[in-house]
Symmetry: C2
Subunit: 527 residues, 2 copies
């Protein structure tokens, strides 16, 4: 029998004895792989060791390089492609791995993880179902269970029963915290409907749409969740510590009740993205229990700390959450794409179950029965690797070090007259601002604060453009200024390779840039 297919002549003419073409060999059996690997190594090294100075291009300059819109007709060699990548793309990446870039919620990835990634992609297992993942389905359930235990401290009997049971799961992997939060609210809504069916016309009737209560620092993924699910957010103010105001929560619940509005979910933030503040979890759980409301903890940022003996006290009460969101790609230092939603009671996972005739069968181990997403990569292997190679002791060191860096930076800010510390670190985030000279050591009016905010926007933009160091900025109401919304500089002290010298460099860099701005604005050199 003829082993070849009716291919077009061009592809067929170089067919090898094993039936492959040169083209297929180039894709699947290339001998040049070692050379390719070295090229990629070089690109990685160049990125990791890059001087922090940006490429000197404005974003419009960079944009101009990506305006071609015709897909190439003929393929080019991988060598040629890598050359164009090195020339046209890689120099324009953000220097996220720089120890002087302290504004992002991702850390440089430990170097073994991209190697695990190469393995994940080569295996290309699809954990939506057993047939396409086999052992990795059980491995995924195992790491979810291990982490679940660090959060909830369940008994041996509990995990023996639920870790690998057919009918439910202790958690689901998602592409990130946003989807985990959406799934949590979805679960809460369905749960509320099961307990006391919401009359169909209730769900979106203006006054009686289901309500999600949380602080004004709730992540914007809850806005998305509310919009998708036809629910409504009830945002409650925070106190001076940027923690949710408990009295306001109680009031929100009773005001909803008296208006006939159904509260389906109480959200606590465990590590706000702006300040790292943690809501009072235990007390919120009590309020939720009393009101018979689903209690969700968004610990996308802070949740990793449960692995750290020295720091998990910051998350006291997380074990009372019905559901918990964690992002592996934040404090756990995994590559982007590793969100997890945990269910305290695995029966909660059954509330949003679904299946399909050609896939994810109801009586299988198919993990896709429980996930909003369908086809999914085996990102669990990153967490598995990190749990085993770093271990709890390792994470404890990393987190303690990170906290120490934040304290160091807070002290450095407080010791310099040029800066004002706005939010001291509870975790490894802090917020501060630059004070132009005329605003130091005096009482500030609302107008003054607006001037200072404008100055800090300019400062952060110039710093970003200069590219030697980086913090991000936010715009939030600040209690110590009567709730006036201010532009704040926001530092994230996550990168394990950042030293005190890097932090000093960043602050000095800001002072130098600020001086330049002052000179321009005032048309003369400052004293």
């Amino acid at each position: 029998m003829d082993m070849t297919f009716d291919l077009n002549a061009q592809a067929n003419k170089n067919r090898n004895t094993d039936g492959t073409t040169e083209f297929l060999r180039a894709l699947y059996r290339s001998d040049d792989n070692a050379a390719i690997r070295m090229r990629v190594d070089d690109s990685c090294d160049r990125f990791l060791n890059a001087s922090d100075a940006s490429d000197g291009n404005s974003i419009f300059d960079i944009c101009a390089k990506f305006k071609h819109f015709d897909m190439p007709r003929e393929g080019i060699s991988l060598e040629a492609y890598l050359t164009s990548l090195e020339r046209d793309v890689l120099p324009h990446c953000s220097h996220l791995a720089s120890p002087r870039y302290l504004g992002h919620m991702t850390a440089p990835i430990p170097q073994f993880l991209p190697e695990i990634g190469r393995l994940i992609q080569t295996l290309n297992q699809n954990v939506v179902k057993m047939e396409t993942s086999r052992g990795l389905t059980f491995l995924e359930r195992q790491v979810i269970g291990m982490f679940h235990r660090e959060i909830y401290r369940g008994s041996d009997v509990f995990y023996q029963r639920y870790l690998q049971t057919l009918s439910s799961t202790l958690g689901i992997f998602t592409s990130g915290g946003t989807l985990a939060n959406i799934c949590a609210v979805w679960t809460a809504l369905q749960r509320a409907q099961m307990n006391t069916p919401i009359v169909e016309s209730d769900r979106s009737a203006a006054k009686i749409r289901p309500v999600i209560i949380g602080s004004e620092l709730m992540h914007y993924s809850f806005d998305k969740a509310a919009e998708l699910l036809g629910a409504e957010l009830y945002k409650v103010p925070v106190d001076n510590q940027y923690q949710i105001n408990l009295g306001a929560v109680a009031q929100a619940i009773s005001s909803c009740e008296s208006e006939g509005r159904r509260v389906i979910c109480l959200v606590a933030v465990a590590g706000s993205t702006d300040y790292g503040s943690v809501d009072p979890l235990r007390k919120l759980s009590e309020l939720a229990k009393r009101a018979n409301v689903h209690f969700h903890v968004d610990a996308a940022w802070g949740g990793g700390l449960v692995l750290s003996e020295s720091n998990r006290y910051l998350l006291e009460g997380i074990e009372f959450a019905d559901t918990v969101t964690i992002d592996g790609h934040k404090q756990l230092m995994l590559p982007i794409g590793c969100g997890i939603l945990f269910f305290r009671d695995p029966e909660l996972s059954e509330i949003t179950m679904h299946h399909a005739p050609y896939a994810v069968r109801p009586t299988s181990f198919d993990q896709g029965r429980f996930t909003l997403e369908g086809t999914r990569p085996a990102t669990a292997l990153y967490l598995h690797a990190a749990m085993h190679v770093i271990g709890k002791t390792g994470y404890d060191v990393l987190f303690s070090d990170s906290m120490a860096r934040a304290r160091y930076m807070a002290q450095a800010i407080e010791s310099r007259p040029e800066f004002e510390l706005i939010v001291a670190p509870t975790m490894n985030l802090l917020a501060y601002r630059y004070l132009p000279e005329e605003y130091r050591n005096c009482t500030l009016s609302a107008e003054d604060n607006e001037e200072i905010s404008a100055f800090n926007v300019s400062l952060q933009k110039l710093q970003r453009q200069k590219g030697d160091s980086f913090v991000s900025r936010t715009f939030r109401p600040v209690p110590q200024y009567q709730g006036q919304s201010l532009t704040l500089l926001r530092a994230v002290l996550l990168n394990p390779l950042s030293t005190a010298a890097d932090i000093d460099f960043l602050l000095n860099d800001q002072v130098a840039i600020a001086t330049q701005i002052d000179e321009k604005e005032h048309g003369h050199a400052q004293q």
Copy 2:
């Protein structure tokens, strides 16, 4: 100034002159990286070259190996970890890359892509916003635009205007087709509400919930979308070609209208997951236009074919879709995790826009304004690499080859009395079943068909357990048997390395397994 932080003594004692500890060096500056790389190479090679025979373990045997639920206290060396991975995990993966595994919708990944993946993870750019991705935001928009042009064939002026505009996008990357479909329906719902506001109480009042119309072969992600959004699916039957019945669609629209139910979205399937069938896109678009309804094409499976000059005629009319879903990780052979939703009119992308104070600013290039997900990896780089290295000509060869393989398998099935071809390939999928000897060449009753279905379930399960070859199975109504639901074997002819010999091997393997079943059931050897 002291360069070190107040670390615990154990971590501090081995601090190096550059301020790092041995522990940090092991994570970030290891000299053993070359050795690690070779270990991972070996694991990859072992997987790719594995004999197709499975490990001989039942899934319960495998499950038993993943029952430990305590996270390790102390980390182990990467060497030790890789050893345990090789021993306990990798042998239990699904042999998805085998050329005799013809049941999955993923192909083996061209070998350069895991190298690109290593680069993506090392860069770890977050395309949610400019600050964390810079050039890769523009690159993402560029590949979206290139693909958009292959679908919609817009003018130069159109792409000059919209490719890199600030206010909208031509598409969004998602973690997969499920999320792309959810976002499409979300857009449709919001669009309908903008055109004629749905009275709040309408949205979920039983009779007047928004309706999504599509065929019974619609992917189960639409069930999820409907549940999330408080909408309702109206499933219309397919004809003998497994294409949506146009008369039934028109009837569905008018029956909804007369009942006061609001149709928000008409869904066409372009490559059904079971059969590869494509709905009549142009005619559906006309129906949608007449009814003023959003027209979405779910081309998760089939959409890649727009890149193939020889095969894109199969998708005729896709250019009339308001939105199109494509999965890069299916026909385009990228690693899992690359869904895309395209907007014909970029203004559609503005309908679900959102932003946050500390991120994704409204007046920025931040691509996160348009996505349901938040933090996202730069998976666009996989598509960028594949577009440039494979090119349109390369994809044309891959698709034509794949179609030829499907035709070959269909002929091989039809030439063997042991099999019945149920659905001939329109694309590179087909459905068939095994016929035990007593059911050949005779008229089959409903009872006979049930027996045959039960037999095919056993056959597929045994084949999967034996592990030398694989097809998946589904359970669907079959027109030529009066709509009776039958168990069907489902082959996906995507793997470019599968040869005619592999297909013959698979069919022979099935005949051998079937004979074994017969022998067991009848207690004697068959003739």
